[in-house]
Amino acid sequence: MRLLTHNMLACNIKGVTKGFPLAIEVTKLETKESEMNPDFLRHIYPKLDWKALHDAAHTLGLNDIPEQVEPAMLEDEDFLQKFHHALLEVHLEEGALICPETNRRFPVTKGVPNMLLNEDEV
């Protein structure tokens, strides 16, 4: 699971008001290099919750993601590379996502988060 996916996911258990961002429990990380697409990064940037991305990146040990981003930084090659790396190249292979309100644990196995709810949660 890439941080892009993490940035969109929330806990949707009945009664949970926000359920975002999900805390990350890391068992195994993997890095897969991929080609950077600056247009895609600029396009996706305004749709992200930057604070959640920043916090999640820090949980995964990516400390070079700044807390605040100015739109001008999206023209900076060096920043884009870090952004690309955090958003798309680092994968959570094994671990879990944890709801901030209920502590419900959503397991991530083989890179696929299991977001299905139990009968008493829908």
């Binding site: 996916t5 949707n12 926000k18 359920g19 396009h43 996706i44 749709k47 009968e119 008493d120 829908v122």
Partner: protein, 491 residues
Amino acid sequence: MWYLCYFLHRLLDYRLPEIEALAKLHGYSDGQKVGQGLQWKQAPDHHPDSPFYYVNLPNEDIARKVATQSLLLKGMYEVWGEGCTHEELKEAVDNYAEERKEPYLAENTTFKIVIDCFGKVLTFDEQTARIQSVSYVPFKGQVQLKKPQHKFWLIDIDAQAQQNGLPPLAAKCMYFAREIGCSDRSVISKYELSRRKYLGPTAMDAEIALLMAHQALVKPGKLVYDPFVGTGSILVAAAHYGALTMGADIDIRVVRDGRGPNCNVWSNFKQYNLGEPLGLIRADNNSPPWRSDVREMFDAIICDPPYGVRAGGRKSGGRKMLNGQRDAYVIPEEMKKDHIPSTAPYTLVECVHDLFDMAARLLVMGGRLVYFFPAAREDCSESHFPKHPCFTLIANSEQILSTRWSRCLITMEKTAKYTEEMAKDAHQKHIDFKENHTQFLEDNKERGSLHSLVFRPADALVGEAQNLLAAAVGTSHLPPEVRAKYRGKYV
């Protein structure tokens, strides 16, 4: 300028929408309102399912791009002349603007003439005779059969012949035309399912999946989502055109495990050297796990929802609980870790409602939702399809499965913003569905009969025809040939 489209005689209803989508994809949208297609022209006595149409495109460059990417077009042409007889054709070609003809007939060019006859196979001698019949065209270039610079086509439609089941024409019709571009269908065999490593029972046929990607206006860098991803067959087609992809499925064995480390959704992308999906998640379309403020994330959503025809739709929630057989229950803490949640059947109406709400929320403005919808044949018109205030219907391509049932490929474009009010309504409806689960299941039961028709459409059709004939003739034993050959939309 008007160009002649000569279509393949297949997937009849998909042909015009494909050209319209590709024209838009290649930048011809100025002056076109949403939902308003291209201008089309057809000879008066031609059947609507005839493979010959004239289309108005702004220039040859766009026409060529459209033609080379299309899958259902045999070729796109600049017509130099058309007529019912060789004499009429000669006159028309002679009268065609000299400056349009001259560059293609000049010295130092290479050319070839292709002979084609719709609805009839020509012998070698007949072909030679036809090539000689256009000797009045003043070619100065060299004939070259392999990779010529210019290709000229002499196409005719045999009025008397059976024409693949289309009704005969009043008179023979001939075209002499210069080829602008023709489709490359080798991409279909590249993605053929029989060579795909990981397949499920409802994997989307390669040709249809590629056509869906055309409808969704997929191009490099676009983000495409399939909420019922299965083995990824739709996303593979989107990735072929350069899309970045994401998918979700309720069945965790399909998205996570596949059939081992080298036979799963990821490996289906590796097999073709396509970029792997950006994300695969296990989620339920009925209660999607997106953060509530995520908006306009995807450029297109393409899917084949599970309507309980080939694979039954499932949603989360205890089956027995939803249909009232047992009271709501809580899973004890010690059982939670290994608990496998049960799922309940998911009806057509509810599934489409959820799909619309999700798409309205997550698509960018102008983004497209492309999906299949099953319908009884008499219901395959615009007024019968579900609507949503955010979407405008762009195209509806019917694919006939039997004398009674069809599936329609529906293309919709997001033309209005998703509002808080819509979110509230959708939530209310969601609760309503849950409370009336049993009622909705009852109402949808009749759709169950679709099952056999989809699995064995030919048998079902022969069966129906036999029953009819048997009733009329008074015998129950008839050969299978009674099946009507032509199964076009209007016949």
